[in-house]
Symmetry: C2
Subunit: 206 residues, 2 copies
DNA sequence: AGAGTATGTGAGCAGACCCTCGGGTTTTGA
DNA sequence: TCAAAACCCGAGGGTCTGCTCACATACTCT
Protein backbone atom coordinates (compact mmCIF):
# COMPACT_ATOMS: atom_id res chain seq x y z
CA UNK A 1 0.00 0.00 0.00
CA UNK A 2 1.47 3.30 -1.03
CA UNK A 3 1.73 5.58 1.95
CA UNK A 4 -0.13 8.80 1.29
CA UNK A 5 2.16 11.28 -0.37
CA UNK A 6 2.36 14.79 1.01
CA UNK A 7 0.37 17.36 -0.93
CA UNK A 8 1.86 19.51 -3.64
CA UNK A 9 1.18 22.75 -1.83
CA UNK A 10 4.03 24.73 -0.30
CA UNK A 11 5.10 23.58 3.13
CA UNK A 12 5.74 26.89 4.78
CA UNK A 13 4.70 30.41 3.98
CA UNK A 14 7.68 32.78 3.86
CA UNK A 15 7.38 35.36 6.60
CA UNK A 16 10.61 37.29 6.49
CA UNK A 17 11.90 39.09 3.44
CA UNK A 18 14.96 36.90 3.02
CA UNK A 19 12.87 33.73 2.95
CA UNK A 20 10.62 35.13 0.25
CA UNK A 21 13.76 35.84 -1.72
CA UNK A 22 14.88 32.25 -1.28
CA UNK A 23 11.50 30.99 -2.37
CA UNK A 24 11.55 33.14 -5.49
CA UNK A 25 15.12 32.21 -6.28
CA UNK A 26 14.26 28.52 -6.06
CA UNK A 27 11.39 28.76 -8.51
CA UNK A 28 13.43 30.92 -10.83
CA UNK A 29 16.27 28.43 -10.65
CA UNK A 30 13.89 25.60 -11.41
CA UNK A 31 12.79 27.36 -14.58
CA UNK A 32 16.38 27.99 -15.55
CA UNK A 33 17.50 24.41 -15.01
CA UNK A 34 14.57 23.03 -16.97
CA UNK A 35 15.29 25.31 -19.88
CA UNK A 36 18.99 24.54 -19.78
CA UNK A 37 19.01 20.80 -19.10
CA UNK A 38 15.48 19.53 -19.63
CA UNK A 39 13.55 17.17 -17.38
CA UNK A 40 16.55 14.86 -17.08
CA UNK A 41 18.83 17.48 -15.57
CA UNK A 42 16.10 18.84 -13.36
CA UNK A 43 17.30 17.63 -9.97
CA UNK A 44 16.58 19.21 -6.62
CA UNK A 45 20.28 19.53 -5.87
CA UNK A 46 20.88 21.35 -9.15
CA UNK A 47 18.02 23.73 -8.48
CA UNK A 48 19.22 24.52 -4.97
CA UNK A 49 22.75 25.16 -6.14
CA UNK A 50 21.62 27.41 -8.98
CA UNK A 51 19.43 29.32 -6.54
CA UNK A 52 22.37 29.87 -4.24
CA UNK A 53 20.53 28.01 -1.50
CA UNK A 54 21.10 24.69 0.17
CA UNK A 55 19.13 21.56 -0.51
CA UNK A 56 17.80 21.77 3.03
CA UNK A 57 16.29 25.17 2.36
CA UNK A 58 14.53 23.90 -0.70
CA UNK A 59 12.76 21.28 1.37
CA UNK A 60 11.59 23.86 3.85
CA UNK A 61 9.38 25.40 1.20
CA UNK A 62 8.44 22.40 -0.88
CA UNK A 63 7.52 19.02 0.59
CA UNK A 64 8.94 17.25 -2.44
CA UNK A 65 10.21 17.74 -5.96
CA UNK A 66 6.77 17.60 -7.56
CA UNK A 67 5.58 20.44 -5.36
CA UNK A 68 8.37 22.62 -6.73
CA UNK A 69 7.36 21.69 -10.25
CA UNK A 70 3.72 22.46 -9.45
CA UNK A 71 4.62 25.87 -8.08
CA UNK A 72 6.62 26.64 -11.20
CA UNK A 73 3.76 25.57 -13.44
CA UNK A 74 1.30 27.70 -11.50
CA UNK A 75 3.60 30.71 -11.84
CA UNK A 76 4.11 30.30 -15.55
CA UNK A 77 0.40 29.82 -16.15
CA UNK A 78 -0.35 32.99 -14.27
CA UNK A 79 2.25 34.85 -16.29
CA UNK A 80 0.71 33.56 -19.50
CA UNK A 81 -2.69 34.74 -18.37
CA UNK A 82 -1.30 38.19 -17.64
CA UNK A 83 0.41 38.34 -21.01
CA UNK A 84 -2.80 37.46 -22.79
CA UNK A 85 -4.76 40.04 -20.83
CA UNK A 86 -2.28 42.72 -21.79
CA UNK A 87 -2.37 41.75 -25.44
CA UNK A 88 -6.16 41.81 -25.42
CA UNK A 89 -6.28 45.18 -23.72
CA UNK A 90 -3.82 46.61 -26.21
CA UNK A 91 -5.95 45.35 -29.10
CA UNK A 92 -9.21 46.89 -27.99
CA UNK A 93 -10.90 48.81 -30.78
CA UNK A 94 -8.68 47.33 -33.47
CA UNK A 95 -9.55 44.79 -36.12
CA UNK A 96 -9.87 41.07 -35.49
CA UNK A 97 -6.81 40.39 -37.60
CA UNK A 98 -4.83 42.98 -35.70
CA UNK A 99 -5.76 41.46 -32.36
CA UNK A 100 -4.99 37.95 -33.46
CA UNK A 101 -1.60 39.01 -34.75
CA UNK A 102 -0.90 40.68 -31.46
CA UNK A 103 -1.77 37.52 -29.56
CA UNK A 104 0.29 35.39 -31.88
CA UNK A 105 3.33 37.59 -31.43
CA UNK A 106 3.00 37.32 -27.69
CA UNK A 107 2.86 33.55 -27.99
CA UNK A 108 5.91 33.51 -30.24
CA UNK A 109 7.88 35.63 -27.81
CA UNK A 110 7.05 33.31 -24.94
CA UNK A 111 7.99 30.20 -26.88
CA UNK A 112 11.22 31.74 -28.12
CA UNK A 113 12.20 32.71 -24.61
CA UNK A 114 11.90 29.22 -23.15
CA UNK A 115 11.07 26.42 -25.57
CA UNK A 116 12.41 23.56 -23.47
CA UNK A 117 10.78 24.83 -20.32
CA UNK A 118 7.45 25.01 -22.08
CA UNK A 119 7.84 21.48 -23.43
CA UNK A 120 8.64 20.19 -19.96
CA UNK A 121 5.63 21.98 -18.50
CA UNK A 122 3.39 20.54 -21.19
CA UNK A 123 4.38 17.06 -20.15
CA UNK A 124 4.36 17.59 -16.41
CA UNK A 125 0.98 19.30 -16.43
CA UNK A 126 -0.62 16.03 -17.39
CA UNK A 127 1.38 13.93 -14.97
CA UNK A 128 0.78 15.92 -11.79
CA UNK A 129 -2.56 16.01 -9.98
CA UNK A 130 -2.94 19.75 -10.26
CA UNK A 131 -6.22 20.04 -12.11
CA UNK A 132 -7.49 22.56 -9.58
CA UNK A 133 -4.63 24.96 -10.18
CA UNK A 134 -4.81 24.51 -13.91
CA UNK A 135 -8.52 25.04 -14.22
CA UNK A 136 -8.22 28.26 -12.30
CA UNK A 137 -5.34 29.75 -14.27
CA UNK A 138 -6.74 28.25 -17.45
CA UNK A 139 -10.01 30.03 -16.81
CA UNK A 140 -8.18 33.32 -16.51
CA UNK A 141 -6.56 32.78 -19.86
CA UNK A 142 -9.82 31.80 -21.49
CA UNK A 143 -11.55 34.77 -19.90
CA UNK A 144 -9.04 37.12 -21.49
CA UNK A 145 -9.62 35.60 -24.88
CA UNK A 146 -13.39 35.68 -24.41
CA UNK A 147 -13.15 39.41 -23.77
CA UNK A 148 -11.25 39.75 -26.98
CA UNK A 149 -13.62 37.63 -29.05
CA UNK A 150 -16.75 39.20 -27.60
CA UNK A 151 -15.78 42.48 -29.19
CA UNK A 152 -15.73 40.94 -32.64
CA UNK A 153 -18.55 38.42 -32.33
CA UNK A 154 -21.22 40.22 -30.32
CA UNK A 155 -23.91 37.82 -31.50
CA UNK A 156 -22.32 34.73 -30.02
CA UNK A 157 -23.31 33.29 -26.69
CA UNK A 158 -20.88 33.18 -23.81
CA UNK A 159 -20.61 29.41 -24.09
CA UNK A 160 -19.80 29.59 -27.79
CA UNK A 161 -17.18 32.22 -27.12
CA UNK A 162 -15.58 30.06 -24.48
CA UNK A 163 -15.33 27.15 -26.87
CA UNK A 164 -13.85 29.38 -29.54
CA UNK A 165 -11.35 30.79 -27.07
CA UNK A 166 -10.36 27.33 -25.99
CA UNK A 167 -9.74 26.12 -29.52
CA UNK A 168 -8.05 29.38 -30.47
CA UNK A 169 -5.60 28.98 -27.63
CA UNK A 170 -4.88 25.39 -28.62
CA UNK A 171 -4.33 26.18 -32.28
CA UNK A 172 -2.08 29.15 -31.74
CA UNK A 173 -0.03 27.35 -29.17
CA UNK A 174 0.51 24.33 -31.41
CA UNK A 175 1.35 26.16 -34.62
CA UNK A 176 3.65 28.59 -32.84
CA UNK A 177 5.49 25.80 -31.04
CA UNK A 178 5.84 23.81 -34.21
CA UNK A 179 7.41 26.60 -36.21
CA UNK A 180 9.52 28.10 -33.46
CA UNK A 181 11.02 24.72 -32.55
CA UNK A 182 12.20 24.36 -36.10
CA UNK A 183 14.45 27.34 -35.54
CA UNK A 184 13.62 28.88 -38.88
CA UNK A 185 15.87 31.77 -39.82
CA UNK A 186 13.15 34.21 -38.84
CA UNK A 187 9.72 33.81 -37.31
CA UNK A 188 7.63 35.36 -40.02
CA UNK A 189 6.31 32.03 -41.20
CA UNK A 190 5.37 31.11 -37.66
CA UNK A 191 3.39 34.32 -37.40
CA UNK A 192 1.82 34.02 -40.83
CA UNK A 193 0.67 30.44 -40.44
CA UNK A 194 -0.59 30.95 -36.91
CA UNK A 195 -2.60 34.00 -37.86
CA UNK A 196 -3.98 32.23 -40.88
CA UNK A 197 -5.01 29.21 -38.83
CA UNK A 198 -6.60 31.30 -36.11
CA UNK A 199 -8.54 33.55 -38.47
CA UNK A 200 -9.60 30.58 -40.52
CA UNK A 201 -11.06 28.93 -37.49
CA UNK A 202 -12.76 32.04 -36.15
CA UNK A 203 -14.30 33.18 -39.42
CA UNK A 204 -15.38 29.80 -40.62
CA UNK A 205 -18.83 28.68 -39.56
CA UNK A 206 -19.61 32.12 -38.21
CA UNK B 1 35.13 15.98 -22.65
CA UNK B 2 32.10 13.78 -22.92
CA UNK B 3 33.14 10.41 -24.27
CA UNK B 4 31.24 9.75 -27.45
CA UNK B 5 27.99 8.00 -26.65
CA UNK B 6 27.04 4.96 -28.67
CA UNK B 7 24.64 5.70 -31.50
CA UNK B 8 20.91 5.24 -31.20
CA UNK B 9 20.75 2.63 -33.91
CA UNK B 10 20.11 -1.01 -33.03
CA UNK B 11 23.18 -2.94 -32.00
CA UNK B 12 22.53 -6.23 -33.72
CA UNK B 13 20.25 -7.24 -36.53
CA UNK B 14 18.07 -10.20 -35.59
CA UNK B 15 18.90 -13.19 -37.77
CA UNK B 16 16.88 -16.02 -36.34
CA UNK B 17 13.14 -15.98 -35.92
CA UNK B 18 13.21 -16.11 -32.14
CA UNK B 19 15.45 -13.06 -31.89
CA UNK B 20 13.11 -11.07 -34.10
CA UNK B 21 10.33 -12.05 -31.75
CA UNK B 22 12.35 -10.83 -28.78
CA UNK B 23 13.06 -7.56 -30.56
CA UNK B 24 9.40 -7.01 -31.35
CA UNK B 25 8.34 -7.97 -27.85
CA UNK B 26 10.77 -5.45 -26.36
CA UNK B 27 9.44 -2.56 -28.42
CA UNK B 28 5.87 -3.58 -27.77
CA UNK B 29 6.63 -3.78 -24.06
CA UNK B 30 8.21 -0.35 -24.15
CA UNK B 31 5.02 1.09 -25.62
CA UNK B 32 2.94 -0.68 -23.01
CA UNK B 33 5.03 0.48 -20.08
CA UNK B 34 5.03 4.08 -21.31
CA UNK B 35 1.27 4.08 -21.67
CA UNK B 36 0.78 2.44 -18.30
CA UNK B 37 3.36 4.22 -16.15
CA UNK B 38 4.58 7.22 -18.11
CA UNK B 39 8.17 8.32 -18.54
CA UNK B 40 8.86 7.85 -14.83
CA UNK B 41 8.02 4.18 -14.81
CA UNK B 42 9.76 3.58 -18.10
CA UNK B 43 12.82 1.65 -16.88
CA UNK B 44 14.80 -0.88 -18.87
CA UNK B 45 14.22 -3.55 -16.25
CA UNK B 46 10.46 -3.02 -16.38
CA UNK B 47 10.47 -3.24 -20.17
CA UNK B 48 12.48 -6.46 -20.19
CA UNK B 49 10.25 -8.07 -17.61
CA UNK B 50 7.08 -7.11 -19.44
CA UNK B 51 8.57 -8.47 -22.67
CA UNK B 52 9.29 -11.77 -20.98
CA UNK B 53 12.97 -11.30 -21.71
CA UNK B 54 15.97 -10.68 -19.52
CA UNK B 55 17.66 -7.35 -19.12
CA UNK B 56 20.70 -8.80 -20.82
CA UNK B 57 18.72 -9.59 -23.95
CA UNK B 58 17.47 -6.05 -24.15
CA UNK B 59 21.01 -4.73 -24.27
CA UNK B 60 21.88 -7.10 -27.09
CA UNK B 61 19.53 -5.24 -29.39
CA UNK B 62 19.78 -1.71 -28.09
CA UNK B 63 23.03 -0.08 -27.01
CA UNK B 64 21.21 1.98 -24.41
CA UNK B 65 17.82 3.09 -23.18
CA UNK B 66 17.56 6.00 -25.60
CA UNK B 67 18.05 3.67 -28.55
CA UNK B 68 15.03 1.67 -27.44
CA UNK B 69 13.02 4.86 -27.18
CA UNK B 70 14.21 5.93 -30.63
CA UNK B 71 13.18 2.60 -32.15
CA UNK B 72 9.75 2.91 -30.58
CA UNK B 73 9.33 6.44 -31.88
CA UNK B 74 10.36 5.39 -35.37
CA UNK B 75 7.84 2.56 -35.31
CA UNK B 76 4.99 4.73 -34.12
CA UNK B 77 5.77 7.40 -36.69
CA UNK B 78 5.72 4.83 -39.46
CA UNK B 79 2.40 3.52 -38.20
CA UNK B 80 1.00 7.05 -38.19
CA UNK B 81 2.15 7.54 -41.76
CA UNK B 82 0.46 4.32 -42.81
CA UNK B 83 -2.74 5.29 -41.06
CA UNK B 84 -2.79 8.64 -42.82
CA UNK B 85 -2.14 7.03 -46.19
CA UNK B 86 -5.04 4.67 -45.71
CA UNK B 87 -7.37 7.47 -44.68
CA UNK B 88 -6.34 9.50 -47.69
CA UNK B 89 -6.83 6.58 -50.06
CA UNK B 90 -10.25 5.88 -48.62
CA UNK B 91 -11.26 9.51 -49.13
CA UNK B 92 -10.33 9.72 -52.78
CA UNK B 93 -13.11 11.20 -54.87
CA UNK B 94 -15.05 12.45 -51.87
CA UNK B 95 -15.51 16.00 -50.66
CA UNK B 96 -12.88 17.98 -48.77
CA UNK B 97 -15.02 17.95 -45.66
CA UNK B 98 -15.48 14.23 -45.89
CA UNK B 99 -11.76 13.63 -46.20
CA UNK B 100 -10.90 15.92 -43.33
CA UNK B 101 -13.43 14.21 -41.12
CA UNK B 102 -11.93 10.88 -42.02
CA UNK B 103 -8.45 12.08 -41.10
CA UNK B 104 -9.69 13.58 -37.87
CA UNK B 105 -11.35 10.35 -36.85
CA UNK B 106 -8.16 8.45 -37.48
CA UNK B 107 -6.29 10.91 -35.29
CA UNK B 108 -8.88 10.60 -32.54
CA UNK B 109 -8.65 6.82 -32.59
CA UNK B 110 -4.89 6.94 -32.26
CA UNK B 111 -4.97 9.38 -29.40
CA UNK B 112 -7.67 7.45 -27.58
CA UNK B 113 -5.70 4.24 -27.89
CA UNK B 114 -2.55 5.58 -26.23
CA UNK B 115 -2.70 9.12 -24.87
CA UNK B 116 0.17 8.82 -22.40
CA UNK B 117 2.41 7.10 -24.90
CA UNK B 118 1.82 9.87 -27.39
CA UNK B 119 2.57 12.52 -24.79
CA UNK B 120 5.81 10.79 -23.89
CA UNK B 121 6.80 10.52 -27.54
CA UNK B 122 6.06 14.20 -28.06
CA UNK B 123 8.53 15.08 -25.35
CA UNK B 124 11.21 12.57 -26.23
CA UNK B 125 11.16 13.43 -29.92
CA UNK B 126 12.62 16.79 -29.09
CA UNK B 127 15.15 15.50 -26.62
CA UNK B 128 16.74 12.77 -28.73
CA UNK B 129 19.02 13.49 -31.70
CA UNK B 130 16.84 11.65 -34.18
CA UNK B 131 16.11 14.39 -36.69
CA UNK B 132 17.08 12.08 -39.55
CA UNK B 133 14.52 9.46 -38.62
CA UNK B 134 11.87 12.04 -37.97
CA UNK B 135 12.35 13.95 -41.18
CA UNK B 136 12.00 10.74 -43.15
CA UNK B 137 8.85 9.48 -41.46
CA UNK B 138 7.56 13.02 -41.21
CA UNK B 139 7.98 13.37 -44.95
CA UNK B 140 5.90 10.27 -45.51
CA UNK B 141 3.11 11.71 -43.42
CA UNK B 142 3.26 15.04 -45.19
CA UNK B 143 3.34 13.30 -48.56
CA UNK B 144 0.12 11.49 -47.76
CA UNK B 145 -1.56 14.73 -46.81
CA UNK B 146 -0.21 16.48 -49.91
CA UNK B 147 -1.83 13.78 -52.04
CA UNK B 148 -5.07 14.46 -50.28
CA UNK B 149 -4.88 18.23 -50.60
CA UNK B 150 -3.75 18.16 -54.22
CA UNK B 151 -7.07 16.66 -55.18
CA UNK B 152 -8.97 19.59 -53.73
CA UNK B 153 -6.57 22.42 -54.50
CA UNK B 154 -5.23 21.64 -57.97
CA UNK B 155 -4.13 25.23 -58.50
CA UNK B 156 -1.70 25.29 -55.60
CA UNK B 157 2.00 24.69 -55.98
CA UNK B 158 3.66 21.71 -54.42
CA UNK B 159 5.43 23.93 -51.92
CA UNK B 160 2.21 25.58 -50.86
CA UNK B 161 0.57 22.20 -50.45
CA UNK B 162 3.42 21.01 -48.26
CA UNK B 163 3.04 24.00 -46.01
CA UNK B 164 -0.69 23.47 -45.80
CA UNK B 165 -0.20 19.80 -45.01
CA UNK B 166 2.29 20.64 -42.31
CA UNK B 167 0.00 23.11 -40.60
CA UNK B 168 -3.00 20.84 -41.08
CA UNK B 169 -1.20 18.03 -39.31
CA UNK B 170 -0.21 20.34 -36.47
CA UNK B 171 -3.68 21.74 -35.98
CA UNK B 172 -5.50 18.44 -36.04
CA UNK B 173 -3.04 16.84 -33.71
CA UNK B 174 -3.29 19.65 -31.19
CA UNK B 175 -7.06 20.02 -31.13
CA UNK B 176 -7.61 16.27 -31.02
CA UNK B 177 -5.15 15.83 -28.17
CA UNK B 178 -6.66 18.69 -26.25
CA UNK B 179 -10.20 17.37 -26.38
CA UNK B 180 -9.41 13.70 -26.00
CA UNK B 181 -7.25 14.32 -22.95
CA UNK B 182 -10.17 16.02 -21.28
CA UNK B 183 -11.98 12.69 -21.37
CA UNK B 184 -15.23 14.24 -22.44
CA UNK B 185 -18.18 11.89 -22.27
CA UNK B 186 -18.00 11.37 -26.00
CA UNK B 187 -15.64 12.58 -28.67
CA UNK B 188 -18.08 14.42 -30.88
CA UNK B 189 -16.83 17.80 -29.77
CA UNK B 190 -13.25 16.72 -30.48
CA UNK B 191 -14.28 15.79 -34.00
CA UNK B 192 -16.39 18.87 -34.57
CA UNK B 193 -13.82 21.38 -33.39
CA UNK B 194 -10.96 19.65 -35.20
CA UNK B 195 -12.85 19.56 -38.48
CA UNK B 196 -13.88 23.15 -38.07
CA UNK B 197 -10.33 24.26 -37.39
CA UNK B 198 -8.90 22.28 -40.29
CA UNK B 199 -11.48 23.43 -42.82
CA UNK B 200 -11.18 26.99 -41.59
CA UNK B 201 -7.49 26.96 -42.19
CA UNK B 202 -7.66 25.26 -45.57
CA UNK B 203 -10.45 27.40 -47.01
CA UNK B 204 -9.26 30.69 -45.64
CA UNK B 205 -6.89 32.60 -47.88
CA UNK B 206 -7.59 30.26 -50.79
C1' DA C 1 27.40 -35.60 -34.10
C1' DG C 2 29.69 -31.75 -32.84
C1' DA C 3 31.99 -27.37 -33.53
C1' DG C 4 30.87 -22.79 -34.08
C1' DT C 5 27.65 -19.12 -33.82
C1' DA C 6 23.62 -16.75 -32.22
C1' DT C 7 20.81 -15.83 -28.51
C1' DG C 8 19.38 -15.72 -23.67
C1' DT C 9 20.19 -15.09 -18.54
C1' DG C 10 20.15 -12.34 -14.12
C1' DA C 11 23.04 -11.10 -10.08
C1' DG C 12 25.03 -7.17 -8.98
C1' DC C 13 28.19 -2.88 -9.65
C1' DA C 14 28.78 2.02 -10.04
C1' DG C 15 26.59 6.03 -9.88
C1' DA C 16 22.82 9.24 -9.27
C1' DC C 17 18.91 11.05 -6.91
C1' DC C 18 15.46 12.41 -3.34
C1' DC C 19 15.12 13.70 0.96
C1' DT C 20 16.21 13.74 6.27
C1' DC C 21 18.23 15.42 10.23
C1' DG C 22 21.05 17.45 13.66
C1' DG C 23 22.83 21.52 14.23
C1' DG C 24 24.18 26.44 13.13
C1' DT C 25 22.92 31.51 12.02
C1' DT C 26 19.90 35.51 11.59
C1' DT C 27 15.87 38.08 12.81
C1' DT C 28 12.19 39.44 15.89
C1' DG C 29 10.13 41.48 19.73
C1' DA C 30 9.68 42.56 24.48
C1' DT D 1 19.82 42.41 25.73
C1' DC D 2 18.45 37.99 25.14
C1' DA D 3 15.37 34.18 24.45
C1' DA D 4 12.31 32.40 21.05
C1' DA D 5 11.24 31.90 16.37
C1' DA D 6 12.43 31.75 11.71
C1' DC D 7 15.62 30.46 8.53
C1' DC D 8 19.69 28.13 6.56
C1' DC D 9 23.09 24.46 5.99
C1' DG D 10 25.09 20.12 3.66
C1' DA D 11 26.81 15.40 4.63
C1' DG D 12 25.02 11.20 3.80
C1' DG D 13 21.28 7.26 4.26
C1' DG D 14 18.28 4.61 1.64
C1' DT D 15 16.74 3.60 -2.76
C1' DC D 16 16.62 3.04 -7.49
C1' DT D 17 18.44 2.69 -12.30
C1' DG D 18 21.18 1.88 -16.39
C1' DC D 19 24.08 -1.35 -17.79
C1' DT D 20 27.98 -5.21 -17.73
C1' DC D 21 29.73 -9.64 -17.71
C1' DA D 22 30.58 -14.40 -17.13
C1' DC D 23 28.14 -18.09 -18.28
C1' DA D 24 24.14 -21.15 -20.08
C1' DT D 25 21.21 -22.55 -23.81
C1' DA D 26 19.43 -22.92 -28.65
C1' DC D 27 20.27 -23.14 -33.29
C1' DT D 28 22.95 -23.93 -37.81
C1' DC D 29 25.70 -26.37 -40.87
C1' DT D 30 28.93 -29.66 -42.39
Amino acid sequence: MATAKPPLTPKKQPLQARSRATDDALIEAAAHILEERGLDGFTTNAVAERAGASIGSLYQYFPNKDALMAALIALKQRELGDTLSEAVAASSGRSLRHGVRHLVRAAIDLQRAAPRLNAAIDYEENRLPITAILSRTGDDQIAALVTFLAEHFPAKTKAALRTDADVLRTIVRAVVDHYVDRAEPDFRSAERQSVKAALGYLRHGA
